[in-house]
């Protein structure tokens, strides 16, 4: 949305193709944003306002089914049998959430009170609040970090970047909604890389007494009363530890989205070994694909935070502009050392 807005306001005829029925993608799934707990809807409204102000053509419920490479430009065949000529394409296919069922030992989809971070966000927003299957507010909640990230068993060796801080954010939100609730975060490393993230972590400890346990959850099992028994090592003490929680939240990581795979293969874009798009250069040409005229922005390149996505969006817009004005700066040739 942001890229489209900027391109349109720069005077380019811009069409925004959205697979689903509404714009905004995943941002609508989140309730509040780290680290300042602002409502995600504010960010969405900001984006929407941009679209409203600029004359971007928005095509909802639309998918690209085929792409024809012309010289120059592309012809996009849409599912509504419409054809669309484009001089340049920006791909913003985002990410999918890791399917927690693949971590069988965590019993997602089997144990009643094992949920994902995304589902917890929905609970935050809902008027029922945070409740277990039995409809009670939980007395104890566990957050498992790195679910589907840094895990060769499920084929994702990378860090999804946002889960650590989301885990801390959600821990705080839970504490704010149910002050009496004991919260345990099970982590391997807490990667509070962003500005104010560490402060949030400190807040969680200081003001909310969230318990941080260094150790990856190994297995959990449902007890006769529907609680979840956890087995984890308190690695900082080197002792196995067991405890039961009323609700277990899995901090699911990011995986390349279906859209990414699809459009990627249609266009013949290069994928990195983790299945995300491969940039021409990780540092200097993150938005630039292997195909001239095709640019990328956001979580289709790698796991990324909302704030960084905006940077991507703006830079992509700039790339397109320079490309369409035949200022092929992105084709700078520098010898590789």
């Amino acid at each position: 949305m942001e890229t489209a807005t900027y391109l349109a306001s720069l005077g380019f005829k811009t069409t925004l193709i959205e697979k689903s029925g509404q714009l905004g993608g995943k941002i609508r799934n989140w309730y509040k944003l780290f680290p300042n707990f602002s409502h995600s809807i504010e960010v969405f409204n900001h984006l929407q306002r941009g679209i409203d102000l600029s004359d971007v053509v928005v095509k909802l419920n639309t998918e690209v089914v085929a792409v024809e490479k012309m010289n120059p430009g592309f012809v996009l065949q849409l599912n509504n049998s419409e054809k669309l000529n484009a001089d340049s394409i920006v791909i913003c296919t985002g990410y999918d959430l890791f399917d927690a069922r693949l971590k069988e030992e965590y019993g997602y989809g089997i144990y009643d009170n094992v949920i994902t971070s995304a589902e917890l966000e929905k609970m935050f927003a809902s008027d029922k609040g945070i409740i277990t299957k039995s409809g009670q507010p939980p007395k104890k909640i566990g957050f498992v970090h790195c679910v589907g990230s840094r895990d060769e068993k499920v084929g994702n060796t990378y860090c999804s970047k946002v889960c650590c801080v989301t885990g801390v954010k959600q821990a705080i939100e839970v504490k704010e909604m149910i002050p009496g609730c004991e919260v345990f975060n099970f982590y391997m490393d807490l990667r509070m890389f962003g500005m104010h993230f560490e402060a949030m972590y400190k807040k969680a400890q200081e003001e909310h007494g969230v318990n941080f346990v260094r150790g990856r959850l190994s297995e959990c099992a449902e007890t006769i009363d529907g609680a979840i028994n956890l087995k984890v090592e308190d690695t900082l003490l080197g002792r196995p530890m067991k405890l039961s929680v009323d609700m277990l939240v899995l901090m699911v990581g990011m995986v390349p989205s279906e859209g990414t795979k699809k459009i990627g293969s249609l266009l013949g874009l290069e994928f990195g070994k983790n299945g995300f798009f491969k940039s021409r250069d990780q540092h200097s040409m993150a938005n630039i694909s292997n195909i001239p005229g095709v640019f990328m922005a956001g979580a289709c390149i790698n796991p990324i935070t909302i704030s960084h996505v905006f940077g991507h969006a703006h830079s992509a817009a700039l790339m397109v502009a320079s490309y369409l004005n035949n200022l092929p700066i992105e084709n700078r040739v520098t010898e590789v050392v």
Binding site: E104, Y111, E219, E222
Partner: protein, 356 residues
């Protein structure tokens, strides 16, 4: 518990199981402690299902217990395993069916290692050649005896005289399943249902009318731990593991335990006795313990075989209460007879654990 979720996982872990011409390899533990089980397995396979199960008189242990208690080096183990393969190859069979879970694990591990380290396979081939002059081919199909019974569970159900149902209440029996660690913990894809929610025994339970009881410590090891049991000084650990499981399953009031490993049923049976005599604590109804069976025994029971031919008299925890529940008739006085009704006396009664 959302069963559909489990079912989904079970679907993901279906393995290929040969349907005939098996090369059967016996188990050190099962032969000694549950000979009736192996007899029953062969009886069902050959007489009920008419399958070709071949047993080579010269086959031996896979040395698994020795290997896992570290007195047998890996090369030695692999070469002994290779010898088994050789016997199979020589006898013209391709489908290996070990009776033992440790063996099954050993075979799986060896094959996997050879896949990743071909030079190791080469080395072992040379060893075998050097030691015995034998050659071998990698088995085409490797399945544990419980996999086979699982494969034919519905055929067995079709012929079954009894169901795992409480004949008085009409309720399905609550059955706890215990999978040998080496069945799928090392290689989840090699076991029916994988490592977290193995289906191999659940399939039988469901097919034969029982109801699965899932409990927190279901996945926990019985505690054999090889050297941990073999040496008396360590046995406390071994017993404590089973104890942990009993404590965890107790609230669910299970009617019986079914296992696919030769060792586990022996331990789960004997530790109930030891815990009772040592701690005064008994599980199950009326201080009689929870009866523990091998999958072959359970298959035999539903087929309506005479419990004493299955060898249930070799269990320390009496099986009579469960037989009554299912409604399987038995002659009390014949329990401890030898062949042709020869009287062999009776085992002593334990102090704490009630027995029939």
């Amino acid at each position: 518990m959302i069963l559909s979720g489990k079912a989904a996982i079970w679907k993901d872990y279906q393995k290929e199981i040969a349907d005939d011409r098996y090369f059967y390899v016996r188990s050190c533990v099962r032969q000694n402690f549950f000979p009736g089980a192996e007899t029953t397995f062969l009886r069902i396979m050959r007489e009920e299902l008419g399958k070709d199960v071949y047993e080579h008189p010269c086959h031996t242990t896979c040395t698994g217990i020795g290997y896992h208690s570290d007195v047998v080096p890996i090369d030695t183990m692999m070469t002994v395993v290779a010898r088994q393969f050789a016997l199979m190859t020589e006898s013209g069979y391709e489908n290996l069916v070990p009776s033992c879970i440790t063996s099954f694990g050993i075979y799986t591990e060896v094959l996997d290692t050879w896949k990743h380290f071909p030079e190791v396979e080469e080395k072992v081939r040379n060893y075998l050649r050097k030691a015995t002059g034998r050659e071998f081919q990698i088995p085409k199909n490797l399945a544990h005896a419980s996999d086979i019974i699982y494969k034919f569970r519905s055929e067995i159900a079709a012929k079954a005289k009894y169901k795992l149902v409480n004949q008085i209440t009409g309720e399905p029996l609550k059955v706890v399943e215990h999978i040998g660690c080496h069945y799928s913990k090392m290689f989840p894809s090699k076991g029916v249902g994988g490592a977290e929610y193995p289906y191999v025994l659940v399939g039988m339970i469901e097919e034969w009318g029982g109801e699965l009881v899932d409990y927190p410590e279901r996945r926990h090891c019985c505690g054999f731990g090889f050297r941990q049991y073999l040496v008396q000084a360590n046995r406390g650990y071994s017993m404590s593991c089973s104890h942990k499981k009993f404590e965890s399953m107790e609230p669910y009031k299970p009617d019986m335990i079914i296992t696919n490993c030769p060792g586990c049923p022996m331990f789960l049976d004997r530790w109930q006795y030891a815990i009772a005599e040592m701690e005064g604590k008994t599980y199950g109804e009326n201080g009689m313990g929870i009866p523990v069976f091998t999958f072959e025994e359970v298959a035999g029971l539903v087929m309506g075989y005479n419990p004493w031919d299955l060898g249930l008299q070799a269990h320390q925890v009496s099986c009579e209460p469960i037989l009554d529940k299912i409604g399987i008739p038995y002659k009390k006085e014949e329990k401890y007879n030898g062949i042709k009704g020869k009287k062999l006396g009776k085992p002593e009664m334990p102090v704490k654990l009630k027995c029939c």
